[in-house]
Symmetry: C7
Subunit: 95 residues, 7 copies
């Protein structure tokens, strides 16, 4: 079965969990090389974050479990790359 | 006969099939190096996805069969690259 | 006589010819390294495509013959590069 | 525990602390390779700055302490990267 | 005397001369490495083309003579680079 | 103490001091590798310039002294980079 | 004294002097590696040109003298780079 190499998520995080802690816990998951967490919008109680996770073989269920354990809610899966290498989206005239 | 190196599809996927599973199954096809799946739009029942598949020799019929088996519907073929190397589209003044 | 290295065409293709077959047949022509076929617009009967062909020595008449044999109609020749190496268009203030 | 590799902060700095001194003190923190300080907006008493800190292993609490010691106020944490390598945010159609 | 390395021309070409032939003849000139011909606008009788010629030592008078022999009319000289290496235009705030 | 590697200034320069002389004097300062001076706006008496200075270890007070000696007035410090390497500002969704 | 590495000028050139000759004469100056001449605007009698000159050690007075000898008038000095290496302008939020 081919490996999951990149996973981009749009999610909500409660404000009491710090962004650095959130990123660290995602990066700690086995098979993950690194996690990029970018702030999209800030609210009274929650923050809307965009997460880019890359690795040799990411366990997407472990990611979902960790997000939930941190009090987060996945809003959408915006990009997924599987296979032997990281294939980038090719820009087209239909974009 | 020259090899198919890149295939970009615009398609609909039922929500009950997860995006990671969808990408994995496409990346598992012989001759495919990797599959990039990007979310274009989300609906109540379906998601509109843009798929970029690259490989040394992609079997486009196997891709079509797999998309169908996953409940997907191909909307359009937006880019195709065949040959000994990956030729990129050249930007022109007519774009 | 200097070699033709890149040929960019804007053309119409009947819908019954598949895009992958179209790209493959162009990439099969002698002297062609690869063919990129990008969808510009889709109609009831035809598709408007942008074709980027690159190679060490492209036979432009063989390309024209193949396009015709596939039922296509060349609308315009948008870019041509000839010579010992691929010279890119230089952007200027008159663009 | 995975390392913090990049930290991007939006903050306010009192005008009496010079920007060069501010950047230097942040770059002096252990585990920091360098600090980029960019001016966003200037006011009568304070300046709104964007800080990009990179390093092999940044201590985010030491950064917070130093910002406070310099009279600064962190407004938001705009980007965090943790892990074995610097993963960049992947652009998507949802941006 | 320093060498002419790049010459960008805006010109008109009669429709009966094919673009590929036009590019080939320019690329055939001594001292020219390659010629890029891009379509700007198409008319009933003529085409407006942008020509980018690069080489170790381009003879601009030979280019002008060849353009004329092919029935072309030079409208403007949009960029010229002379010297030991290809210096690119530097973007400034006055552009 | 960590080194100052880049300093970007917005300043006013009297017209009687030539831009080349201004750049040369800044580049002559010890620890400076080079100085880029770009014209933002020209007035009857003064010019508004953007200065980018890079070096292994820039002495910002020597720069301020030299600007003053040349009759210039620093309007704002727009970017500062300190540390072991040149960290670039990371683009975010809050920009 | 640090060397002048890049000089960008906005100038007027009489139409009777050809652009290629203009570029060649600037590139011929000692210490100049190459000269890029780009057309900004064309008038009945004169052309507005943007000149980018690069070299190991450009003599700006020799450039000014040559421009004058060719009938040109310098309108503004838009960019100057001095020092041991070519420092590029750093983009900031104040641009």
């Amino acid at each position: 079965m081919s490996a999951l190499r990149r996973l981009v998520l749009d999610l909500l995080k409660p404000n009491e969990v710090e962004t650095v802690q959130f990123a660290r816990r995602l990066a700690d998951i086995e098979g993950v090389d690194g996690a990029n967490v970018s702030l999209l919008e800030s609210d009274k109680d929650v923050q809307n974050l965009k997460i880019t996770i890359e690795g040799e073989s990411i366990d997407d269920e472990a990611v979902a479990t960790e997000v939930e354990a941190l009090g987060g809610t996945i809003h959408s899966v915006d990009e997924v790359v599987c296979g032997d290498r990281l294939v980038e989206e090719s820009p087209t005239h239909q974009d």
